[in-house]
């Protein structure tokens, strides 16, 4: 049952506004931010080492005297690209195998699920670490590794939804009409998986940003000196007492982005739900 959403801000709900604002801002920064950045994110200035925020360095400078704001902006591009492509890979793989397993059942399902469950048994990060070992530490390596590591989650979600959809009579009705199986999947099964898929995709967007940070933190992420929010966190760790702002700013970026993405996900799901009356 849908909980009546409270209107806010002239009839629009808060999560829609906040989600769109945050995600839109992040995409904008990723796209055009580097041209507006106050400094070169890689320019080193030893005299400004660990400078406090203010003055020339709006958000301070890191241990090599590089401008934190410029590095955050550059990092946003890395994070957005990685998160988007990774989620796209995971969702594409997961949907194909999830629908196949759920709809065909029988041996197809059993074989796919054995592989899937053994992948799920590893923590996502550990699996990514293993795959990274093969592809090497690079941006593309991270994307492939995380995409493969998170696909099993999507498979599980999609398969579960398809299994319950299968029992609905409109799927059988599609067979009676004479639709071939692939058309039934495309036209009736897949669109009805959209809501859970979107929820997983947005949540995963957050996980990927976190995992990328974690991998970078472990030194397996985007290779330095290129900035990403994760490797900024990890390089700032030794200076946590002298310059806590080095931890706080990238951390804030990650948390606010995650919050925005999740709220946008909620909003999109509500909007896609055919049972929600769309207010004109």
């Amino acid at each position: 049952m849908n909980v009546q959403a409270k209107p806010w801000f002239g009839g629009v709900r808060f999560n829609v506004v906040f989600g769109i604002a945050v995600v839109g801002f992040m995409f904008a920064v990723a796209l055009v931010g580097p041209w507006f950045a106050p400094a070169d994110p890689l320019a080193i200035n030893i005299r400004a080492r660990l400078a406090t925020p203010g003055g020339d360095y709006l958000l301070g400078a890191d241990e090599f005297g590089r401008d934190v704001l410029s590095r955050l902006i550059a990092g946003a591009r890395t994070s957005v690209v990685i998160a988007l492509v990774t989620v796209a890979i995971a969702v594409a793989l997961g949907t194909i195998f999830g629908v196949l397993a759920g709809y065909r059942r029988g041996w197809t399902d059993r074989c796919l699920m054995i592989v899937n469950d053994s992948m799920l048994a590893f923590p996502g990060l550990l699996l990514a670490l293993g795959i990274m070992a093969v592809f090497g530490a690079s941006r593309d390596g991270i994307i492939i590794a995380l995409g493969l590591a998170y696909a099993p989650v999507v498979v599980r979600v999609v398969r579960g939804t398809v299994l319950s959809l299968r029992e609905q009579e409109f799927i059988e009705a599609s067979r009676v009409i004479g639709n071939p199986e692939w058309l039934t999947m495309l036209r009736h099964v897949l669109p009805n998986c959209l809501a859970p898929l979107l929820v997983v995709a947005t949540m995963m967007f957050g996980w990927v940003i976190l995992s990328e940070s974690a991998l970078s933190f472990l030194g397996l992420g985007v290779p330095p000196p290129a900035p990403s929010w994760g490797n900024m966190l990890s390089t700032a760790r030794p200076y946590i007492n002298q310059a806590p702002q080095l931890i706080v700013f990238p951390g804030l970026c990650i948390s606010i982005t995650l919050l925005g993405v999740n709220m946008l996900g909620d909003a999109i799901r509500d909007w896609l739900d055919p049972k929600m009356e769309r207010a004109a």
């Binding site: 609905q168 009579e169 409109f170 059988e172 009705a173 599609s174 067979r175 009676v176 009409i177 004479g178 639709n179 036209r187 009736h188 669109p191 009805n192 055919p274 049972k275």
Partner: protein, 538 residues
């Protein structure tokens, strides 16, 4: 003893802050040991009225009344603690869905004893003895084993009897039964109702029955109150109301009741369109941890013939295999053995001949799940047309509008989504989808059993009209002989996977040969078996 068991005066039920009233100024009373039925269609407020007495309204609804008196005591303003003492102990309630009203993780014995433990101080042994006696009373085989069993081990009818037993165990002064048999087939619901009336009579319990089925109510209840849009439109003794309904709405309800009509039988056509010989269907056994249980055969060699343009009704209780037979004919269930022929050609759904899908269509029982929630009406109906590669977008649109009109829906319904439609409208859409390519043979699987009585009558009429127009043959699968009577040319009776009797409609209804057929007919509560004088007078 004096005074009524329950008296309700000026009851209103409102939806949250909107001020919309779903029950308006309702008053009624039930004598001690008496029986009253609230009759109305879905949305008439009958369930909310009954629930507000026990204060079991869903969140967001508020009740207010001038007075609700239970055995003379005003309970409208009673404290919550007092209401808890009343519920179960003195006012019992039986719900509609036996499949969900028992806790699946608790044994039957545990659930039956729950009320006794709460309200009376009895030892475990006494509780067990009382439960056993009551289970025996409701004719559950092996009551001892039943106490240790769990709800999923029982059928819907058995569960409803268990539910009744555990409510009556408390010997309440009032029993509220909310559509207790709607989810059951006619034979079983007959048994459950008989039992309910026996038990309440023995214990002097007053009954408030909520139902949409006027025919059933007329058979069991002394008094009834007809509700429409939250208001009482008619009140009186059941016999009186049925014989001379004073309100237009009640008149419509009475008209929608199944009754035995005469004449109108079409000649049996010579040419068969569908032939079935020795059809056997089995469902694979349930998988246990290591091995599978043996397959369960549900059809044991069925022979059947449907002539061109005729309607053959397939009737039987739940589990008789009638739905399976219908599904096998359209290829939704794979037969184990046997032969199916369509216009003399063998019918094999694993390698269907072109055009077979166009000529053989199916209408599902539940219009709430047979339509894709994300498709609008227009694209649902147009989808079968897309199978024809030569069709144009414009042609499909025109055809959709045409068939929409034929099923009695306005053309501006096309952009609507299924959840914006009522049950009857949904079933019309489903019928339009099935008929849009003008099939030659249609299987209708209980097409009206999920609908209100007046809507049922409309849909049955629509099916008849469309059949006259398009001339398709129809296999009408149903447990409801009232509906069958209105559409069938011939009737086949199924029991336990076999056809036990087959004949023309009048033969089956007037001269049933089998005991089982007679029981089905008796349970169908065709109205002029009791109120024959009314039709005779007209």
């Amino acid at each position: 003893m004096s005074g009524p068991a329950l008296e309700v005066e000026g009851l209103d039920v409102m939806v949250g802050g909107t001020g919309m009233r779903v029950v308006k100024n309702l008053s009624f009373s039930i004598a001690r040991g008496g029986a009253l039925a609230l009759v109305g269609e879905s949305g008439s407020g009958k369930t909310m009225a009954a629930r507000s007495i026990l204060r079991l309204l869903p969140p967001g609804l508020r009740a207010s009344s001038e007075a609700v008196r239970f055995e003379g005591r005003d309970i409208a303003n009673a404290a919550d603690a007092e209401m808890r003492r009343l519920r179960g102990a003195q006012i019992g309630m039986v719900f509609q869905e036996p499949m969900v009203s028992l806790n699946p993780s608790m044994s039957i014995g545990g659930q039956m004893g729950e009320g006794l433990r709460l309200h009376k101080s009895l030892s475990a042994g006494e509780i067990r003895d009382m439960s056993l006696a009551m289970l025996e009373r409701v004719r559950i085989p092996d009551p001892g084993g039943c106490l240790a069993a769990y709800p999923h081990e029982f059928s819907g009818g058995m569960r409803q009897r268990i539910m009744l037993a555990s409510v009556m165990l408390m010997r309440p002064a009032l029993l509220i039964a909310d559509e207790p048999t709607t989810a059951l087939d006619t034979l079983v619901s007959r048994e459950v109702l008989d039992l309910m009336m026996e038990l309440t009579e023995e214990n002097g319990t007053a009954v408030l029955l909520i139902s949409h089925d006027l025919g059933m109510v007329a058979r069991y209840m002394q008094d009834l109150l007809v509700m429409k849009d939250g208001e009482a439109v008619e009140k009186g003794s059941a016999a009186e109301v049925l014989r001379a309904p004073s309100h237009g709405y009640t008149q419509r309800l009475v008209d929608a009741l199944p009754r035995r009509s005469h004449g109108g039988e079409r000649g049996v056509p010579a040419k068969p369109i569908i032939e079935v010989e020795g059809l056997r269907v089995a469902y694979p056994g349930r998988r246990r941890l290591l091995r599978s249980l043996p397959a369960k055969e549900v059809l044991h060699g069925v022979d059947l013939r449907v002539g061109e343009g005729e309607t053959l009704a397939l009737v039987g209780g739940s589990g008789s295999g009638k739905t399976t037979l219908g599904r096998a004919l359209v290829g939704l269930t794979r037969p184990l053995d046997g032969l199916m022929r369509f216009r003399g050609e063998p019918l094999d759904w694993r390698a269907p001949q072109p055009g077979m899908r166009k000529d053989i269509q199916f209408i599902f029982q539940d219009p709430y799940s047979s339509l894709d929630p994300r498709q609008n009406v227009g694209s649902i109906i147009a989808e079968p047309l897309k199978r024809d590669r030569a069709s144009t977008r414009r042609g499909r649109r025109e055809r959709t509008a045409e068939i929409l009109e034929l099923v009695g829906l306005p053309a501006d319904f096309m952009p609507r989504l299924p959840h914006q439609l009522s049950g009857g409208q949904r079933q019309r859409v489903a019928i339009a989808r099935a008929l849009v390519r003008e099939p030659k043979f249609l299987v209708a699987d209980e097409p009206v059993s999920a609908l209100d009585m007046t809507v049922q009558a409309q849909i049955l009429k629509l099916i008849r009209e469309l059949q006259a127009r398009f001339g398709f043959a129809c296999l009408f699968v149903s447990h409801d002989l009232g509906a069958v009577e209105q559409v069938a040319d011939r009737v086949a009776v199924m029991k336990e996977g076999r056809i036990v009797e087959e004949g023309t409609r009048d033969d089956i209804f007037d001269r049933p040969q089998q005991e089982y057929t007679r029981a089905l007919l008796d349970a169908a509560m065709l109205i002029d078996r009791r109120f024959g004088d009314r039709t005779a007078a007209q």
